[in-house]
Amino acid sequence: MRTAAAHPGSSPDAAAARGGGHADDALFACPICDALHRAAEPPPGGRLRCRRCGEVLMTNRPSAMDRTLAGAFASIVMMAGAVFFPFLEMSILGIERRVSVVDAALAFSASSLLAPLAVAVGLLIIVIPLIRGGALVYTVLPMRLGLPAAPGAREAFRLATRLKPWSMAEIFIIGVVVALVKIAGMASIHLGPAFWAMACLVLLVVLEGTSICEWSLWQTLDRKRRR
């Protein structure tokens, strides 16, 4: 179900008067095309699109907050599993090798030229997804429990939003699949528990990403903070 956002009157003076002095809670601008809209709650299960460019501005999914929390918690637990258990076991000519996610990051640490890449890969596939999950829990959990916002909750949620493109666990999973096909001919491969943990993580990240409505989260956070 799609609905157009309410549009304020086309008189600039009227809009300016409404914005007067400080931020106006009822007005917001499309981040893509800058069109002004008056905030309106979308119907349950529906979403609000920008009148000018069609960008989805707000969603109203039942239990979006619970889903976000569940996704963030689960991704932290899954990631812990993925780090401590081997995700691949391989044997060539009777020689066995077990590899964990950490080993994959450390693969670049052997040469001094590539050592920075070992750090970067560790950040992209382990540290950043964990920080992002932690920041989401830190922001959303107090809100869900009806408590006042945690100190620094704004910064934490902003961090989670900014880190989103740099959290690459799901891309790593595709990398595992490609790597497996590349060596499928010369070795027998066994997928360890951490592979399935990472694969579940990918699904969770995708689900969590679609359920959150950033506008209403910011609005709730703002009200809690002012109280």
């Binding site: 002004l36 693969a107 740099w166």
Partner: protein, 215 residues
């Protein structure tokens, strides 16, 4: 209630800037122009990102520079039974084709060559279209902007493939795979182009479209 499935520019919409306001890109809240930071989310507030295009071009250029050694230097050094074989990105794709793994060859080819090259082209086109007041339909340009933002990070898959193979295949004399120097240049190129795409303020694309209408 109006269905917006085929939204096209109708009557010129009132923008936050025209109303003397500035919209926050992170949370959407509008404030008076000149407010230094968003009162709701605390992020820096600009009606339009300052020096957006300069930053886009600068990051794109370093990304492009890194992409050259990423393709020329070896990405992966394979040694088996005393023989050493160095392969660059394109060589790796060709090897996969020879092994008959066409599907995976296609994934690697698209992720390492098609996506980065078209990304350079699309970002440059978007930046030029803002500077030159292009007549390319604004909806097409915004679709490309979204596509570049969404797809750019997937190029990193090739770096992960090398990391996994190098961690896995360490059988000493029998077989071992080591990462080549191209890996770091490729990773840098992907990161720089991601930053370049993020530096693009899409509101400038819309500005250039509505200015063209007034000509």
């Amino acid at each position: 209630m109006v269905a917006m499935a085929d939204a096209r520019p109708q009557a010129p919409a009132l923008t936050a800037r025209a109303a003397g306001l500035a919209g926050c890109r992170a949370c959407g809240l509008v404030s008076q122009r000149g407010t230094p930071s968003c009162p709701r989310c605390g992020g820096a507030l600009h009606s339009r990102e300052p020096q957006s295009l300069q930053r886009v071009w600068a990051w794109l250029l370093v990304g492009l520079i890194c992409y050259v050694p990423a393709n020329l230097l070896p990405m992966m050094i394979t040694s088996a039974a005393g023989k050493t074989y160095r392969s660059n990105i394109l060589g790796g794709v060709i090897d996969l084709v020879h092994h008959g793994a066409l599907g995976v060859a296609a994934v690697v080819f698209v992720a390492s060559i098609v996506i980065p090259v078209s990304k350079f082209g699309v970002i440059a086109m978007l930046a030029i279209s803002v500077q030159r007041r292009s007549r390319i339909p604004v909806h097409a340009r915004i679709h490309l902007y979204h596509a570049v933002e969404f797809i750019g990070r997937w190029s990193m898959v090739d770096v992960f493939v090398v990391a996994i193979l190098a961690a896995l295949v360490r059988m000493g004399f029998f077989a071992s795979i080591d990462p080549g120097p191209a890996a770091i240049f490729f990773a840098l190129s992907v990161a720089f182009t991601m930053i370049s795409a993020q530096a693009m303020d899409p509101r400038l694309i819309w500005d250039s479209a509505s200015d063209a209408d007034h000509d």
